[in-house]
């Protein structure tokens, strides 16, 4: 089988359609599994935090997804730019919306956690501010793409913005170590014993996997729409010219 043929949007379209349920259904199941572990197995308190800590499962997963999807979007945008690969540019456009949704969600859930914990909805602390910048980068990418009519130029301009903006992702990640922040330190660190009980850890990791599967499903759904829309537009242009 020649896998390279799927680099063509028209060949990828039906394949993506077949893949969607394989991600969407497990995502829904794992959201439920995470909820079960997080709310019915995990203790009602965590360290010095009372029951409000239950926000952690979705907050951490959303924040991680916001960062991962940004890097992935920048890679796809870069490939689309460097190799003139249309499908890669379409994937970048598709990822931008889902990434923005997760970043927004991490800010909202963080706000809902901050109010009862720190007594404020918002603080201009390094991690929160750099996450807000991440949201603005997504919004910038999305508006830049929709502002430029010529699709190739739009993809190229988006790629430049996306690649420059990648610098913000390590800033978010290490912000809690580099600066003295109101935001608490990393929840999970590689090579370190986690500070959580195992049902909490399971709930959080399962939620992360669920968010990944969900993202794949919606990104594939959106890329199919983009493929079809761009083809329709191209067809209209050709009809108009002839």
């Amino acid at each position: 089988m020649n896998i390279y043929k799927y680099a063509s949007p028209a060949a990828f379209y039906p394949l993506a359609g077949k893949m969607i349920p394989w991600f969407a259904v497990p995502a829904a199941i794992l959201f439920a599994v995470s909820f079960y572990f997080g709310f019915f197995q995990a203790p009602s308190r965590a360290g010095d935090q009372n029951q409000v800590y239950h926000i952690i499962y979705i907050h951490v997963a959303a924040a991680w997804m916001g960062m991962f999807l940004y890097v992935l979007m920048a890679i796809y945008a870069g490939i689309g730019w460097a190799f003139n690969a249309r499908l890669a540019s379409m994937m970048a456009s598709s990822l931008s919306i889902t990434g923005a949704v997760f970043t927004f969600l991490s800010l909202v859930t963080g706000s809902l956690w901050g109010k009862p914990t720190w007594g404020t909805w918002w603080a201009w602390d390094a991690r929160i501010t750099s996450t807000l910048i991440l949201l603005f980068l997504y919004i910038g990418f999305i508006s830049l793409q929709s502002a430029i009519d010529d699709q190739r130029r739009a993809d190229r301009a988006g790629a430049v913005l996306a690649l420059v903006g990648v610098i913000n992702v390590p800033i978010i990640y290490f912000s809690v170590q580099w600066w003295n922040t109101l935001h608490q330190g990393a929840t999970i660190r590689l090579l370190e014993k986690p500070k959580m009980t195992s049902p909490m850890l399971i709930a959080m990791l399962v939620m992360l996997v669920a968010c990944w599967l969900y993202s794949v499903a919606v990104v594939l759904m959106r890329v199919r729409c983009i493929i079809a829309e761009r083809e329709q537009n191209a067809a209209l242009v050709t009809e108009g010219a002839s």
């Binding site: 709310f39 029951q51 409000v52 949704v101 969600l105 969900y214 759904m221 079809a228 329709q232």
Partner: protein, 50 residues
């Protein structure tokens, strides 16, 4: 633990359920809007791309 205790979340129900409700609305909304976008395309274009 009773159900009412569960829903009150020790008095933090607004924040905890607010978070999960926002998640549900945003993620569910994204999926629903995509379904609509797809069916609108079907109506306008008819066939799948090839």
């Amino acid at each position: 633990m009773s159900w009412s205790e569960f829903f009150s979340m020790g008095g933090y129900g607004f924040y905890v359920w607010g978070s999960y409700l926002t998640t549900l609305i945003l993620l569910g909304g994204e999926a629903i809007l995509l379904k609509r976008r797809k069916s609108a395309l079907r109506k306008r274009g008819g066939r799948d791309p090839r």
